[in-house]
């Protein structure tokens, strides 16, 4: 028992305890009141706010990316399709040691520096439970390796996604273009809503031009997710509208023929149906494998393409601007007839050179270095086109003047973009006094008119423009905008002529006749390709100078470096009586038109003759890039 007994003031102590307990009860009630007020505030006053927040937490609006429309050639050959591609992603939250996991993954499969960089960038923007892509396009083998080792690496996931694939590799690289991953710049200009969930967008060519058609409409689903982002169930779903399947005018066999005919040479071929404006073939060599670009090209591959002296990324068919050379002569002849400056019977003396009145400078004819003389003592229009006489057109050009030349030749689409439905087309140059004043702030000199008269000097045209101009010749004056797109979801698109050059039929006949003689006459400049031909064509050869030749020097091919050799050009339409195809060919540094004309012949053969000898439409290599 304790010795000190607290007997001081039991009554006072009891009162003290009661006071303190009462105070405690009041304190408890007050603090519980605070708690209750707080819960009342949260649960009753702000109920709507938190209810919404909780729903937003739980229900996620997930975009459903639309399937990109397929691209076919005119015969139904698939040019661009979608294939499942496997993506390696990492969910940060579920990874214990990110560096260790990355190191382990690098032992299993190649992960490039740019992959890692990309990954680290995205990692900072995503929430910890969102999957961040690390590697695209996993191979079968890599997927198997991952499947075996995945149990050791929590948070590592492999997802399949439909990704663009080009079954024919380089064959349609410039005709169809390609898609690539959306970059920062594009992300800003694209409709954010439409492209949620979509990683790719058309970058070049048809893929870019018809992006709106091919993309489709994004769908959505409301899903209930847990905090880790895993979908538990779908509450609501609005299906995406897949992009439209489109059919192009392109012809697989023709494209292949053109590519093979060009072979190792740098050049371009554009073939058109003159009556529809449909582009049957669009080839620019060298090409490249468009599949490389779909999921991000490696910097080594890109550097190789970028730094190649052959500039494979350059689409010569629509971006390449070349002096058209003698291929403008049929159009010049038409202009002469239309203006009444010449008739088919008009002749011009041809000593092999021409000079302006009161000027001693001699403008040589190309024949001079071969024969030492002109084509004939007097040359008429027929011979001038068939044998490509320069002197005749020097004379005509002088009398026509540059500004009228500009007026008449623009009817063929020269000097402005053809508005073909693809990207990056260049306009070429159809000079005039005004053009020179605007572009160079210089007056026009009379000698320059002579150069322009034979498609040299300032005049530049793309192969696309030349093919379109040839179509105008073939249709006797009808200008149609060249079109790659033939039909959308089976719906044919008409392409009526926009402008028409009206001229008496006799004029057209005279010019056509002279163009026929280019191949089908004993002295035609392209008579060599007429051997064994089973149809007739109207055509024109052309040679364009790459470097200026000094006044008195004679051009000797062998002495000129390969890159400085002349470009060879050739335009043609066939069959002669009822043309169904117009073609323009350029071979860079081919030396002369003889490099281009056999290519045109091959293309025309493939289009006109091959019914008896069907070309296999199955692509030779179908390996996954």
């Amino acid at each position: 028992m304790p010795q000190h007994i607290p007997l001081k003031d039991p009554g006072g102590e009891a009162r003290l305890f009661i006071t303190r307990i009462l105070f405690s009860v009041l304190l408890v009630l007050a603090l519980l009141g605070v708690i209750l007020a707080r819960y009342y505030d949260l649960q009753i006053n702000d109920y709507e706010i938190y209810r919404t927040q909780s729903d937003r937490n739980r229900v996620q609006l997930q975009p459903l990316p639309p399937k990109r429309g397929l691209i076919y050639d005119r015969n139904g050959v698939l040019l661009a399709d979608n294939r499942p591609s496997h993506i390696l992603s990492i969910v940060r939250e579920r990874v214990d040691d990110l560096d260790a996991t990355l190191a382990e993954l690098q032992l299993l499969l190649p992960i490039s520096e740019s992959d890692l960089e990309n990954f680290q960038q995205k990692l900072q923007r995503r929430r910890p439970y969102e999957a961040v892509p690390l590697r695209f396009r996993l191979t079968e083998e890599e997927r198997a390796l991952l499947a075996v080792n995945r149990h050791r690496m929590p948070g590592v996931t492999v997802d399949a996604q439909l990704v663009r694939h080009y079954p024919h590799g380089t064959l349609f690289s410039h005709a169809v273009g390609y898609v690539g991953r959306i970059n920062e710049q594009e992300a800003q200009s694209l409709d954010e809503r439409d492209y949620r969930g979509t990683f790719h967008v058309g970058k070049v060519g048809v893929e870019k031009f018809y992006e709106d058609l091919l993309h489709g409409e994004v769908g959505y689903q409301n899903v209930e997710t847990n905090a880790h982002g895993r979908v538990l169930r779908v509450l609501e779903r609005f299906d995406p509208v897949p992009g439209a399947d489109i059919t192009l005018h392109l012809d697989f066999a023709l494209q292949q023929t053109a590519l093979e005919a060009l072979g190792e040479q740098r050049g371009a071929v554009v073939a058109m149906d003159p009556w529809t404006g449909g582009v049957l073939a669009l080839v620019s060599t060298p090409g490249f494998d468009t599949n490389l670009f779909v999921n991000g090209i490696s910097s080594a591959d890109y550097r190789a393409l970028r730094n190649s002296p052959d500039v494979p990324l350059f689409n010569r068919a629509i971006q390449g601007q070349y002096p058209p050379g003698s291929t403008v002569k049929p159009m010049m002849a038409m202009a002469g007839l239309q203006t009444g400056l010449v008739t088919p019977e008009t002749t011009v003396p041809d000593p092999g050179w021409y000079s302006l009145p009161g000027d001693s400078r001699r403008y040589r004819d190309w024949i001079l270095k071969i024969r030492g003389t002109g084509h004939a003592p007097r040359v008429d229009m027929h011979m001038a086109v068939a044998e490509s006489c320069d002197v005749y057109f020097y004379d005509l050009a002088r009398r026509l003047t540059i500004d009228r030349m500009h007026e008449y030749l623009s009817g063929y689409g020269l000097g402005k973009r053809t508005q073909v439905d693809t990207t990056n087309e260049r306009p070429g140059v159809l000079p005039s006094t005004r053009w020179k004043r605007d572009a160079m702030n210089q007056p026009w000199y009379p000698g320059e008119t002579l150069s322009a008269g034979i498609g040299q000097g300032y005049m530049l045209a793309t192969p696309m423009q030349l093919a379109a101009a040839t179509s105008v010749l073939a249709t006797r004056g009808q200008w149609r905008t060249p079109r790659l797109l033939r039909s959308v979801a089976g719906q044919e698109l008409p392409n009526e002529p926009v402008e028409t050059i009206s001229a008496p039929p006799a004029y057209w006949e005279a010019v056509h006749e002279s163009m026929r003689a280019v191949v089908h006459s004993a002295r035609g400049t392209a008579r060599k390709i007429g051997e064994g031909i089973r149809y007739e064509m109207a055509s024109k050869t052309g040679t364009s100078q790459v470097i200026g030749i000094a006044q008195n020097a004679i051009y000797v091919e062998a002495d000129v470096a390969e890159r400085h050799r002349n470009h060879g050009l050739f335009i043609a339409f066939a069959p002669y009586e009822a043309p169904t195809i117009a073609v323009a060919v350029i071979v860079e540094n081919g030396g002369g038109a003889s490099a281009a004309s056999p290519i045109a012949r091959a293309v025309l053969d493939a289009w006109l003759v091959d019914d008896t000898e069907p070309v296999s439409r199955v692509p030779e290599e179908q390996t996954d890039g």
């Binding site: 028992m1 304790p2 000190h4 007994i5 607290p6 001081k8 003031d9 039991p10 009554g11 102590e13 009891a14 003290l16 305890f17 009661i18 006071t19 303190r20 307990i21 405690s24 009860v25 408890v28 009630l29 603090l31 519980l32 605070v34 708690i35 209750l36 707080r38 819960y39 009342y40 949260l42 649960q43 009753i44 702000d46 109920y47 706010i49 938190y50 209810r51 927040q53 909780s54 729903d55 937490n57 739980r58 929430r127 910890p128 209930e224 997710t225 847990n226 905090a227 880790h228 538990l232």
Partner: protein
């Protein structure tokens, strides 16, 4: 208070007395309190089942903890109050020694040493102090005239400070504050002057700045900053508070229904079965459920105060008052922190949050409370 004197005069055996007592009294049980605790723990198991992702094993384990805790409570209720009074200083000494031992031999995780491992059995000596602290201070004051004189108050403060500082060194700020509070509550019950209380309050406010500067660790500061502006770190420290407020608020008046809380069932709510379980309750049972819980807690607290008022000794009164107030502090701090009123400290919702240690300690406290309620009704020993 007449019994008080009689109690001293009758040290002899009076076993025949007890036979006339109701069974509850003979078993040293306070029936109203027991009933309230049963209701609370039953309700707690309901909420826990939902909060733990509807896992039966978690429920069974908690049931086992409760079984153990009720046994401890029952045992604690059987011990005579005089023994508590006599033993408490020795337990206090033992507790302090163990706390010193923790500093030298302790094991722990995340930079804090809180555990002692003896023969493979790990325990936190600070848990012992939760009960021993009020007992010891009450022991010290029970033999002195109340209200205590200044020197005794200072002695009590020393008694309180020694283990609190040791626990603070582990470091475990939350437990240190709770244990200090349980000792100070005894002083409060003993009737120290209001001037001391107000003075201490002013001092506490004044020391806020140096404490912030020199005592609090970065993670502790972060918790306070997060409380003030949870939006500043939505995915990190603020995540818990944002999600728990969302859970509570979205429960509304009626609640989303048992097992239907989306915040808790879909893992948005962290620590949903332990410290943040009130958010699950608030989400699934709504404000109604919160009111029921608060009513239960309030009744328990009021019963505790009733026991304190009716205690036959100063010691019993002070101990009962302190235990009840400490129990209330748990409730207030937990419900306040989950609702974003207070910084997040590791305080469970008493008798509802999953976990064995806190349940056993709390129920031991209620055992002492029952000992206070029944100690003088029958035999003294």
């Amino acid at each position: 208070m007449g019994d008080y004197v009689r109690q001293l005069q009758l040290p002899g055996d009076s076993s025949d007395f007890s036979r006339k007592q109701p069974l509850a009294l003979r078993l040293h049980l306070d029936l109203p309190l027991l009933l309230l605790l049963a209701l609370l723990t039953g309700f707690g198991l309901f909420v826990l089942y939902s909060a733990s992702g509807q896992k039966m094993p978690a429920l069974i384990r908690q049931g086992q903890y409760f079984l153990l805790a009720y046994c401890v409570m029952f045992a604690a209720a059987q011990i005579d109050l005089k023994r508590y009074e006599r033993w408490s200083p020795w337990f206090y000494l033992l507790g302090v020694l163990l706390l010193v031992g923790v500093i030298f031999f302790g094991v722990g995780a995340k930079g804090a040493q809180r555990w002692l491992s003896v023969g493979g059995f790990r325990f936190q000596p600070s848990e012992i102090l939760k009960l021993v602290m009020p007992l010891t201070v009450a022991w010290y004051l029970s033999s002195r005239a109340l209200p205590p004189r200044l020197k005794y108050v200072l002695a009590c403060l020393l008694l309180v400070a020694l283990p609190s500082v040791l626990i603070l060194l582990q470091p475990d700020l939350g437990t240190a504050l709770l244990i200090a509070a349980s000792g100070l509550f005894v002083l409060f019950m003993a009737g120290i002057g209001w001037s001391y209380i107000v003075g201490a309050f002013v001092l506490a406010c004044a020391s806020a700045w140096p404490v912030w500067m020199y005592v609090l660790k970065d993670y502790q500061k972060q918790r306070i900053l997060t409380l003030l502006n949870p939006e500043s770190d939505k995915l990190g420290a603020g995540w818990n508070i944002i999600q728990s407020k969302t859970a509570i608020g979205s429960g509304g008046w009626e609640g989303k229904g048992w097992l239907n809380g989306t915040q808790s069932q879909l893992d948005f709510l962290p620590e949903s079965h332990t410290d943040f379980i009130i958010a699950v309750l608030a989400e699934e049972f709504g404000m109604r459920g919160v009111l029921v819980l608060i009513a239960l807690y309030l009744l328990i607290v009021l019963r505790g105060f009733w026991i304190a008022v009716n205690a036959k000794s100063n010691f019993g009164c002070m101990v009962a008052g302190s235990i009840t107030l400490t129990f209330f502090v748990y409730i207030f701090v937990n419900m306040g922190m989950v609702a974003g009123l207070l910084p997040v400290v590791g305080v469970p919702l008493p008798l509802v949050s999953a976990g064995g240690t806190s349940v056993v300690t709390l129920m031991a406290g209620f055992g002492v409370l029952m000992a206070v309620a029944t100690s003088d009704s029958g035999r003294r020993r």
